[in-house]
Structure formats: C-alpha cells, structure tokens
C-alpha cells in the first residue's frame, strides 16, 4: 500500500497529465462511437443501435459534402494567401530594422488579441455598408485577414532563431543570392512556413464565428454543423469528424516518420 501511494505521489504529474489527455480525447472517442449509431429521431445524441449506414453513405445528407468541399476550397486559398503575405511580413520583421517596426508588430498582434466576434462584426459592418455581396470572396478575405497574424508569428520565430552566419557562409562560398535563398534560407525557414500554413489551414477550415458573420447565405462546413445542431444532426457529421481526425493523425505520423528517417540517414 505504501509502495502504491509512493508511486502515486512520485507520478502525480504523469497521472494528472494523462487525465487531461483523456479529457482532450474523450469527445473524439464519442464522435467515433456515434458515427456507428443509428439514431431514432433527427438528433444523434443518444445511443440506439450499431450501424455502418453513415460510413457507407457519407454524402447522403443534402448539402453536407457541398459545404465540405467549399470549406476545403476556402481553406486552401486562405492558406496560400495568408502564407505568402505572412512570410513576407515575417522576413521583413525578423531581418530588418526600420521605422514603424513596432507599430507593424502591434498591428500583427492585435488580430490575435481581439475576440473573434468583434473582428467578425466589424468586418461585416464594413462589407454591409460598402454594399459588397456576402459569399465566397468575403469569407476568403476574412480568413486571410485572421490567419495572417498566425503565419507571421510562426515564421518569424523560425527566422529569428536562424543563424545569419549560415547565409554569410553560403555567400563566402560564392553562392548567388538566389541560390543562397533557395538552398539555405528557404530550407531553414521551411518548418516555420509549413507550421504557419498548417495552422492557417486548420484555423480557416474550422472557423465558425468570423464565417458566420461574413458568409451571407453561403454555407461552409462549420456553418452546416451549426445549422444541423438546431435542425437535427445527421450521423454523417460524426463520420466526417472521425475521418478528419484520422487524416490529421496520419499526416502528423507520416511527417514524424519522414523526419525520423531523415535524421537517421
């Protein structure tokens, strides 16, 4: 008994940590389990009986897959836009001393420090008064706007921690500027850029609040889920949630394996 209590005391942090981990993963388990449910009514909140109907027919609900592909499309474009603009800003901030540097820094920081609903409402007010039609473009503009800061932060951290002597060394070895950039600077900055891009993809794909204000009658995937929470959630939503989880885990694992292999060779 004392051995057990001693073990518990020594590993209290580990136990508490795993408790939190369980808390984090629990809803995903529920999503997985309920993707095999066959609900009685419109709502998929109570377990009835096992069925794979939703898995064999994931697009069986009207508008679900349309909203999903719209969300993917927006996320891809928002990622491209935000990563391009954000990487440029990050390089400027990390590499140069110039006037207005601190104001630029605060302009980058503010969107992250602002409650989303404030940004969402203000942008929608602007669009409304400019007479812009809400839809794909307004969503895309809004997404690039709020993803930008996250890309800048991710890339900036990476570029700042990079040793400038590596580039000087490349110069000393007679690399042309283009070569230096492509073969030294970019590969070193790449993990930061990739992290920024991944983050903006995830943020854009999952965003509900800003999209809700700026979408008009266009329905993205999160908006479809939101609507279905009121009208009755189809089981297919759980299928797609599980699939998203699986794809994400596979991607991360693949990245890890690739990284490990590279390190070994």
């Amino acid at each position: 008994m004392t051995a057990l209590t001693r073990w518990i005391r020594r590993n209290l942090v580990v136990i508490a940590g795993f408790g939190t981990l369980a808390y984090l993963i629990l809803p995903n388990v529920v999503v997985l389990v309920f993707s095999f449910n066959k609900p009685n009514g419109r709502f998929n909140y109570e377990w009835q009986r096992f069925s794979t109907d939703a898995w064999t027919d994931p697009c069986g609900v009207a508008d679900l897959c349309g909203s999903l592909s719209l969300s993917l499309k927006i996320a891809v474009w928002a990622t491209i836009g935000a990563t391009l603009l954000g990487t440029m800003i990050a390089f400027a901030l990390a590499r140069y001393r110039f006037r207005a540097r601190s104001s630029v820094n605060s302009l980058i920081f503010l969107p992250m420090a602002m409650p989303e609903v404030v940004m969402a409402a203000s942008l929608a007010t602007l669009f409304l008064n400019m007479g812009v039609d809400f839809g794909f473009w307004t969503i895309l503009i809004a997404h690039i706007m709020f993803c930008l800061s996250f890309v800048v932060t991710a890339v900036k951290a990476r570029v700042m921690s990079m040793d400038p002597r590596l580039e000087q060394a490349a110069q000393d070895l007679y690399a042309s500027p283009a070569q230096t950039f492509l073969r030294v600077t970019l590969p070193i900055a790449a993990p930061g850029i990739a992290a920024g891009a991944l983050l903006s993809f995830a943020l854009s794909f999952d965003d509900f609040i800003i999209t809700n204000f700026n979408a008009g009658s266009t329905v993205t995937f999160p908006m479809f889920v939101w609507g279905s929470a009121q009208r009755g959630t189809p089981v297919q939503i759980n299928v797609i949630g599980t699939a998203m989880f699986a794809v994400a885990v596979l991607c991360v694992l693949a990245g890890q394996l690739a990284g490990a292999r590279r390190k070994r060779s």
Binding site: M88, A92, V118, Q168, V225
Partner: protein
C-alpha cells in the same frame, strides 16, 4: 561592370513588384548585406569564378553607392506592403468603421446616419451587463481550469515523456483537427441527462453539491453554467498547453537537479524554480485562453440555455437576427475595450511586457 549590371537587374525587379519577386529581392538584399559585412575578407580573397550557375566570373567589389542603398532600405517596406495593406483595409479600417456605426441611429428601411448618439452605449450596457459579467466570469473560470488541467500535461510533455514526447504532443494537437463544432456537440452527448457524467455525479451525490453552488440545476448538467464552462475549458485548453510547453521546455533540467542537490523538495523546486521560470508561458496561455473565451458564443449556445448567454451571443443576435447594427457595434466596442484594459493591466502586473 558587374556592379552596374547587378543594379540594373535589381532595377528591373523593383519595377515588377509581384509577391514572389519581392521574396527573391529580399534575398538579394540579404546577399548585399552579407557582402557588406564580409567585405574585408571578400576583397582580400583573390577573384575566383563565382559558380557554375553564374553567367561569368564576378569580381567582388565594394557595394554600389547610392541607388541600391536606398532600395535596400525600401526592401522591408516592399515586403510588408501587401500584408499590411490587407490588415489595414480588412482589420483596422472595419474597426474604425464600426466605431462610427456605434454612434449612428436609424433603421434598416431608412438607412443609418451618424448622429453621435452615445446613448446606444449606455442602453447596451444597462440592458446587457449581466451577459458581460457572465462572459468575464465564465472565461476567467475556464482560464483557471485550463491552467490547472493544462499545466501537468505540459509538464509531462516537457520533462517526463522522454521518447514518447512526440506521440503525446500529437495526441494533444490531433483532437483539434476534428471540427470544433462537432467536438462541442459531442459534449452534448457526454453531458446529456442520461449520460455518464450525470450518472457519475448522481451516484457520488455531487449533483446536490453542485446545484447548491449554483453551477448545475436540478438533475441536469447540460444547459447549466457547469456545461458551458466545461465546454470553454475543453475548447481553449490547447491554447494554454502549447505556450506552457514552450516555456517549460526552455528550462534547463539541470536547474531541477541543482535544486535537488540543494535539498529542495519537489514541491519547493516547483514553486521556486519551475513555476517562476514558466511565467511567460502562463501569461501567454492565460491570455490566449481568456480573450477568445470571453468573446465565444458557441459553447453558450450549444451547451447552455437562455440563462447562460454570453456577450458574444448578444452581439450575434443583434447583428444577424435583430439587425440592430449600432447596438451590435457598441457592444463589440465595449467588449474590446474591456478586454484590452484587462489584458493591459494583467500584462503590467505580471511584468512580462516583452512577451508581445
């Protein structure tokens, strides 16, 4: 001369101010800065053929005098221009525009006019102060809960996970690739009246305690403050764990050994060494949790009832349902001002201004 050719090439590039070129131009500027820095050694070395890729041997010379220097100074501005313009037009300008909307009066049919009607602020505040207070209260509770739950996990990843570190990290991040709304809906299942949480609390006779504390009502957990705070905590937990982990990871484990060598008990080591050194992470994490949690309306909408409405719900319904834009704008402004004030005070108090 190669210098003039380089200047000419750079001139061509500056005219075509496309994004991709700006990046390579920046590389050129880096190169120039590099040659300037390494000037002494570069001129001393005998001229060598540059590279197979270069068109012809380029003698290394003193950097050109006037134009490239000016251009070099402009490089950061060219890099910043598109992104900053985007933020100014679609982030800063709307905020200013919203300020003017908040002092407008009118209706959807007649149109809105700026009448400096500050009364809107007063009306909004007096009508919706319960939602404001509730937002701050819920967000603060969720932030504390996130800190309490997140710290052990961040500590575990930073110091105890060893070679499992990456795997645990994946397990922390991966759940967040399932849509946030789907996961929040899953909480509806977990907390439902016939669900496991209510059952467990019931068998432990804790529901009476929580009802007495006012965080649950009757035999329910769903549609009570407990459910909303639980959802908020869950949804914003990674924003706490990641900065905590980053700052914990920077701590040298030797410091722990040193504290142990000086006969500090683990608790003392934590209190005197680890926790103070992780303060930047704590501050960043609490901010990243508190700010979005205050403005959130998804958890209150999906897991709460009409009695758990937060200020985000009010803004959303004023803007999208009632179409009372001035009130929505005034509410957003009050929320923004309140948060900025709280955050500023908090950062001052915690003494980590260099954080941002």
């Amino acid at each position: 001369m190669s210098v003039s050719r380089r200047a000419a090439r750079a001139g061509l590039r500056s005219r075509a101010a496309t994004k991709e070129r700006a990046v390579t131009r920046e590389a050129r500027a880096l190169e120039r800065a590099g040659t300037e820095r390494g000037e002494g050694t570069a001129t001393a070395t005998p001229e060598a053929p540059q590279d197979a890729a270069g068109p012809e041997p380029e003698p290394v010379q003193k950097p050109p005098l006037f134009r490239p220097a000016v251009r070099k100074r402009l490089v950061p501005y060219w890099l910043l221009l598109p992104g900053i313009l985007w933020l100014l037009i679609f982030f800063a300008a709307p905020l200013i525009y919203q300020a003017s909307t908040s002092v407008q009066t009118g209706s959807l049919e007649e149109g809105f006019k700026v009448t400096w009607h500050f009364q809107t602020y007063w009306d909004a505040l007096s009508a919706y102060y319960p939602q404001f207070l509730r937002s701050v209260l819920y967000a603060a509770t969720a932030t504390v809960m996130c800190l309490v739950l997140g710290y052990p996990l961040a500590y575990l990843i930073a110091f105890r996970a060893g070679r499992w570190r990456n795997l645990v990290m994946i397990l922390v991040i991966a759940p967040f690739f399932t849509s946030f709304l789907i996961r929040t809906l899953a909480w509806k299942t977990i907390l439902s009246d016939s669900g496991p949480v209510v059952g467990a609390l019931n068998s432990l006779h804790l529901l009476d305690v929580t009802s007495y504390l006012g965080i649950t009502e009757g035999q329910r957990v769903l549609a009570t403050p407990l459910a909303v705070v639980c959802g908020l905590t869950y949804n914003f937990l990674p924003f706490m764990i990641l900065p905590l982990y980053t700052s914990l990871e920077r701590i040298d484990p030797k410091l722990h050994e040193a504290a142990g060598d000086l006969y500090a008990r683990p608790v003392t080591t934590f209190r005197k060494v680890t926790f103070p050194l992780s303060m930047p992470g704590v501050v960043a994490g609490t901010l990243l949790t508190f700010i979005p949690a205050t403005g959130d309306y998804i958890n209150a909408e999906l897991l709460g009832s009409a009695d758990q409405k937060m200020v985000g719900n009010v803004i959303q319904s004023q803007f999208l349902r009632v179409l009372d834009y001035p009130t929505a704008a005034a509410l957003s402004f009050i929320l923004m001002a309140a948060i900025l004030t709280m955050v500023t005070v908090y950062i001052r108090k915690s003494g980590t201004e260099d954080l941002v």
